[in-house]
Symmetry: C2
């Protein structure tokens, strides 16, 4: 489908490209802290070293129609998930199917119930979403389309680095680092900038402004809730600095310190006391979670107490517990189950609903419903299983079971656990190649690209009708993540991800 790309470089071309890539990336903060496998901890005990974030040398090819398709549904997706997170009754039905087999979701739901009992102290919720897609080529269709891989409602990462990597590729183009043979493919207009840094920051600023309407009595701040060790810290810092540009103070709070450094006052305000300045107190307008999304982070009761403390406070959460739950794959599955009535419930606008529907890959439950029983047949038959992937309902990725491995995997589980997974038709992306730079080394070969489109949405909880009143809703830039094609032998290692940007092509 694509032209042959990228071209093989001469030694001098590769040297020029790599030198400029390595210098530009560090000069612009397109960086990560190096992994211990690259730099042993004893070499750098204070963690002052950094290196270029894993990136592709070339922007990957991406059909222009698919890029537009994905961006055009961003606002509809925002609206959809705002509506889902606002419909507690409906969500309850989803969650109840899973609580018995999924402790994490069960515990999140308990947090929600405790706060509900007391009454929610805030009216606004902020969603900073990322809807991830791959290009799907169906030989029977004239054009490729995007199909959704997952929808992230919590800790959607790489928005900071994404703006930088699109800047990197545009810079490399401008300095002639790409061979002239690419002049027809790579142009200033075929490389759209990613506006994720200002976009996501604007979303946070909108939430902060909404909080200010409640007339806070203390100086205010936004809290970035973070993990203790974070190698991807610059991704987060770029967002922080962009929020600062709105005149807003930001503090990074490790999840493990929530109970030490914050408390909820009599008015349910979340009060933050910086450990470096114990005489100061800030009223938290917004808690932006870049932690607390993974079950492994809740390995003690205090972590759940911390999450409850945030949830019951008057600070706006990005996301709330309900919004985090709305991001479960079970929701994606229920929406994408053929002839599901749910989509139009949340998206009454038919045109919007149709556009969203087009991005769904058929998803089946593995339960005992009619669709589920059909899916079980498809999944346990080796001939049909090759077109599918089985995914755990939980967030995080990395535990997917692909194609011919599915039948054996399912048979290794008691049938009662099958519903913890969903079965999804595999997306068949077009083949292409790229070169990934990571840990100071390049690896070349077949790659798979995933396009993420960020969305920012702020809404106020509705009254009896359970409908959100959306006050801000916009698309907020894009991410291209590229990894080695698992089906390749040799070449780029499977799962070896890099940040990338799109070179739009007509197909």
């Amino acid at each position: 489908m694509y032209p042959v790309y990228p071209p093989r470089l001469t030694e001098e071309q590769e040297e020029y490209l790599l030198t400029n890539l390595k210098d530009w990336s560090i000069a612009h903060g397109l960086a990560v802290r190096p992994a211990p496998s690259y730099v042993p901890t004893e070499t750098d005990p204070s963690a002052a070293l950094a290196t270029t974030a894993p990136v592709t040398l070339f922007p990957s090819l991406f059909p222009g129609v698919c890029f537009e398709q994905a961006r055009n549904v961003a606002e509809a997706y925002n609206e959809l998930y705002a509506a889902i997170a606002s419909d507690e009754t409906w969500l309850k039905g989803i969650v109840e199917e899973l609580v018995e087999i999924d402790d994490f979701m069960a515990n999140l739901w308990k947090v929600h119930l405790k706060v509900k009992e007391e009454g929610y102290a805030h009216a606004f919720t902020l969603g900073l979403f990322r809807s991830d897609y791959m290009v799907h080529v169906d030989p029977s269709e004239p054009q490729p389309c995007v199909r959704q891989v997952e929808f992230n409602t919590i800790a959607s990462s790489f928005g900071g680095l994404s703006s930088k990597v699109s800047g990197l590729h545009k810079h490399l183009l401008s300095i002639g680092a790409y061979p002239e043979s690419l002049n027809s493919i790579l142009t200033d207009s075929s490389l759209p900038p990613s506006t994720s840094i200002p976009g996501l920051a604007r979303g946070m600023a909108k939430a902060h402004e909404a909080y200010l309407e409640c007339a806070p009595t203390l100086p205010t701040c936004v809290i970035f809730l973070v993990q203790d060790l974070e190698r991807n810290v610059f991704d987060q810092r770029h967002l922080e600095y962009a929020v600062n540009e709105h005149g807003i103070r930001v503090f990074r709070l490790p999840f493990s310190r929530v109970l030490k450094d914050t408390h909820v006052d009599a008015n349910r305000k979340l009060i933050y006391t910086p450990p470096q300045s114990p005489g100061q107190r800030f009223e938290v307008s917004l808690v932006y979670l870049r932690a607390g999304y993974s079950p492994t982070e809740y390995d003690n009761e205090a972590a759940w107490d911390a999450r409850l403390q945030l949830e019951r406070s008057a600070a706006i959460k990005c996301p709330s517990v309900l919004l985090q739950l709305a991001g479960t794959k079970k929701v994606q599955q229920v929406l994408a189950t053929p002839h599901s009535p749910h989509l139009k419930r949340f998206l009454p606008d038919e045109k919007q609903a149709a556009a969203v529907l087009k991005t769904f890959a058929p998803i089946y439950p593995l339960d005992k419903s009619e669709a589920g029983m059909e899916a079980r047949k498809l999944a346990t038959n080796p001939d049909s299983a090759v077109r599918y992937v089985a995914k755990p309902q939980r967030e995080g990725g990395g535990n997917n079971i692909y194609r011919k491995a599915i039948p054996d995997f399912l048979h290794s589980l008691p049938e009662s656990h099958w519903p913890a997974h969903i079965l999804m038709e595999m997306i068949e992306p077009p083949e292409q190649n790229n070169v990934i730079f990571r840990n100071g080394e390049t690896q070349q070969g077949g790659v798979i690209c995933e396009l993420g489109v960020y969305g920012a949405c702020l809404w106020k909880q509705g009254d009896a009708d359970g409908k959100p009143h959306i006050t801000s809703n916009f698309e907020a830039g894009y991410l291209l993540r590229t990894k080695g094609d698992a089906s390749e032998e040799g070449g780029v290692a499977a799962g070896f991800g890099a940040v990338d940007s799109v070179a739009l092509v007509d197909v």
Copy 2:
């Protein structure tokens, strides 16, 4: 003279300050490639790691009157050195005194003579200067003043990092990383931003524009002439990217590759052929030297051929050989010798000349002139020597002989070599402390600060009168460099330099 500063930090304050410093610096390219003593080459063979450039945790205190004094003479200094570099007859007199004892200057002069014989092919010269000062406290004077340490006419470094470090300190202030006790000292207005990145880039853009008036026939570019291994590469890259913003292509050319990648055509145009794109040719508008300033770089005849090739070309040089020679300490000495007639020769404006004169520390030759004989007495007598420093005439620094070491040093040399040094009254800076962060470690103690003021000046060679016709002349930002006070025992290691910014104080 200064308030007690900086305050001792609690463990939590230091942690907050350092974490933010480490992250902000990498996110904004305030970085260097790590030294092999920090990261062994085998850990990072492709040199993809970076670390925070050596910086101070706090902006150092600096008297506001001294800062203004140094900035106010920037344009006069530009004019002065443009005039000196344009007066070949006068410079010849200076150089001739040194050629016998200084091969490097002798060889530079030969390059000039060869080009002169053929006739200079260019009319414009660009100076990107840095005049370095220290605050001098004379107990008999009511106010401190600045005294010049040296005047750099070639490869004036740290203009890229300087803008960044002033940005860092302003950021740390804005996020409350400095204790509240400093609120009266550190304010937004007491921390002036350094405009060295846009300032120096604007200087280069002016030269490029001047070249364009000659109607080049090929695509044009600016060449950054660089050393093969450069750990301070980001300092240079920030200038490059700022030049790019003027719509100008920039290539980095290692000094060792001049003869390979460039040639001078029949019209004396300097033609650059990028090794990564051998079919392309660029006409070089400006050669900006960040290499070629040190004798050790000319360890083979080809290096001199390379320098000659650049000099005889029609490209504008920053600096020309004559301008490089004008930067010799001998010139500084001749100007600063009490009652010297030279200053007014080059700076006819009396007010300007008086302002420049005020920045000179008395400087004596060590030759057999009357002033020289007086200086020899001062330098060989241990009692008076303690107020002086002996400096080699050449650029580069690092070989200064201080105070009581001078007599023995001179006696270790044949007297015929004494004139290769000048004797300068020591500047007596006020005491202060700071904390330097370098290679992941902090060191605290007494420090000495050196203020550099950048200047950009473009001129056209005059006709018979030898006077330059200046077409651009402006101050271009500042640098504060801070290093451990050599007189301190323990504390910050002597000579251990860091980039810094000023916190202006009333004294």
